[in-house]
Symmetry: C2
DNA sequence: TATCCAACTGATACGGAGTATCATAATGAT
DNA sequence: ATCATTATGATACTCCGTATCAGTTGGATA
């Protein structure tokens, strides 16, 4: 049986490191009028525990006590509030990962599944310009980068 | 209306303008060992008749006499042989369009659904470089650009 | 032209991913 | 403690795409 993460609010026992993340996200959601519920915390906690971009179904499997619809709703909310990013693999499988805020793109390793952020990249400006040259007003874009991370690189 | 260059192959009755396209694609497929079949021609013809990126289901609806599985298989083959591109909309809906060969990206208009190609863009080199800086070996990428085409631009 | 096999087709059924519904439960403001 | 609002979860559903498989067709060969 799983010993559930007990909610410690201000006493001596240290909580799992992800607890701070969960609290932070819950706080952000509260600010926007969303409630602090047990299933929602479980979803956030499970998402934070993943080491790789994960699928909604993986989260469902990791949370047998949370309804499937609730997991999907939770993820959708987290994406809407930009706490979680969507990641699209080459085979169009949709995965998620905790967001590091701000606009960025993902370097996705085909070998180990790792995801790294590519920020501070002027791709966006370049695209904007290239689009404008074609008389196109760019309002957004979707960019995923596939390959191999440093650890999995082929010599 | 656009008067297309009709390919006259030695007889008097002009065929629909798309016939040349169909013949060309069928020829390419034949070269690779794929057969020239009636349903396959119908799929290619219907694809060529679309003015906007289209969904597989739209093609099925346009081809009631062709089995659904055949339409899907036909599209898959056309994508594999690079006669057709996949286009991913912002809501992750998958659409297709005849390919203009070579690597390129799409400028997708949210207002009218039009798609224009963005070629001759050095985004790829920039990405490659940015990825390399992060120790990442880029092998591919997915990029779609959303916004408004010249006709639908907001002043 | 007849033969023959691999490729193709289409009806059907299946599976995965995500959402609509709706009765019930929990939250948090008062 | 009350109560309106929001959230939950079981279920059923839709949508997209694919596996299956018996029957058909294309086209190479003779
Ligand atoms: Zn981006
Ligand atoms: Zn890796
Ligand atoms: Zn591309
Ligand atoms: Zn437009």
């Amino acid at each position: 049986m799983i010993t559930a993460a007990v909610k410690h609010t201000g006493h001596r026992h240290p909580r799992p490191r992800s607890a701070a993340i969960v609290d932070d996200i819950i706080a952000q959601l509260s600010q926007q009028g969303y409630r602090d519920t047990e299933p929602r915390r479980l979803v956030i906690n499970a998402a934070a525990a993943q080491r790789r971009p994960f699928t909604a179904e993986e989260l469902c499997a990791a949370l047998p006590c949370v309804g499937r619809a609730t997991v999907y709703r939770g993820l959708r909310l987290l994406v809407e509030t930009e706490q979680v990013c969507r990641v699209l693999l080459e085979d169009r499988e949709l995965r998620y990962q905790l967001s590091h805020q701000g606009h960025h793109h993902h370097l996705l390793c085909a070998a180990c599944g790792a995801s790294a952020d590519l920020a501070n990249c002027d791709v966006d400006a370049l695209l904007q310009e290239a689009a404008a040259t074609a008389g196109f007003q760019m309002s957004g874009h979707w960019l995923e980068i596939y390959g191999r991370c440093a650890d999995c690189a082929v010599v």
